[in-house]
Subunit: 206 residues, 2 copies
């Protein structure tokens, strides 16, 4: 254990390294989760490294040790939460119906991650420092979400039109997320999802 | 003519009133158009009344005469441009195909008005001063857009599922607008529009 950290000394440097790494990883994860929460609640202009560090209960210095710039912190945060979400989704059993698959996919766009990502995309459209990184991140998340959608729906993309059908469905899910930004749109959304699940069922398996 | 404005005196107050009203209306329209341009290009945090007044070539005092607060200016601007857009759309002949109708509707979400509105919605989600006004504005624009979509598509909303199909299409259009925020998404969008126009043709008229 590094004596500068002032932590309790354990027997041998090898045994001490693992808990230190664990603590470092836990701090990093707390920062990433706090960054997404702050972005979703306060938007880009209200989300500074200081605000996130405070929310995570971490010193500003420790936050900057993990993430040298504000851009590093927020792009890493959106990417981390997107990966966590993908992991959780991969563990789900394949849905029994198109309706259940569409509900799961639309659900991806109505939670705090979408809200955080939306603030980041919109900020990136005006901030040259953020633009290229967020564009690359959006492309990665987009590809991964498309892959998950194809699996959840259990469709074969080699059939003509299937790829574009799935893409349009994800565009609709993104639009439903946007419609949920200012008001609770869940009642309307449920009816739209039921109808579009029927359309998809016919289009993909009909 | 009000002597305080220092303008050239014309013969009689009645003859002078109309040109003055015209100038006032023209100033107002320039401010509204500049507000949408600034919002689309610089986002909410970069769009102050001063920036808009400068862009419109109007003094800050004149801008504040028309719009006492920043919130007044930007909500009026998004509403004005949405109304101009509706007027232009109502003058179009009814499209010959579902494809043309879907293209027109998706086109509503890929121009500077959508970009400006998006900045306003996202800012409103974090700014209590803006929230209720933008929520009311979004509801009005949403209803009007839905009405236009029903007309363009030439469908009967009394048939079960039609209303939700149209709503989902507009959600998809909104999502396509969002996908166009950071990169030029037009090639992908064209393929998605072609495919969903086919699916909708079957769903709505099949």
């Amino acid at each position: 254990m590094n004596p500068r950290t002032g932590g309790e000394r354990t027997a041998g440097s090898t045994r001490g390294a693992a808990p230190k790494q664990d603590r470092s990883r836990a701090t990093r994860q707390r920062l990433l989760q706090s960054a997404v929460t702050c972005l979703a609640e306060h938007g880009w202009s209200g989300s500074t490294v200081t605000v996130v560090a405070e929310h995570a209960g971490v010193s500003r210095g420790a936050a900057q040790h993990h993430f040298p710039t504000r851009e590093d912190l927020f792009t890493a945060a959106v990417e981390y939460v997107a990966e966590e979400r993908s992991r959780a989704l991969r563990e789900l059993p394949t849905p029994a119906s198109a309706r259940a698959a569409v509900e799961t996919l639309v659900g991806l766009y109505t939670g705090p991650l979408f809200r955080a990502a939306l603030h980041l995309w919109v900020a990136a459209s005006n901030e040259p420092q953020l633009g290229p990184r967020v564009t690359a991140l959006e492309a990665r998340i987009g590809r991964e979400t498309h892959r998950m959608a194809v699996e959840l729906l259990g469709v074969d993309e080699r059939r003509p039109g299937v790829r574009e059908t799935v893409q349009g469905l994800l565009d609709m899910a993104r639009g439903l997320g946007l419609a949920n930004l200012l008001t609770d749109d869940s009642a309307r959304r449920e009816r739209v999802v039921a109808q579009w699940a029927r359309l998809l069922e016919n289009a993909l398996h009909g």
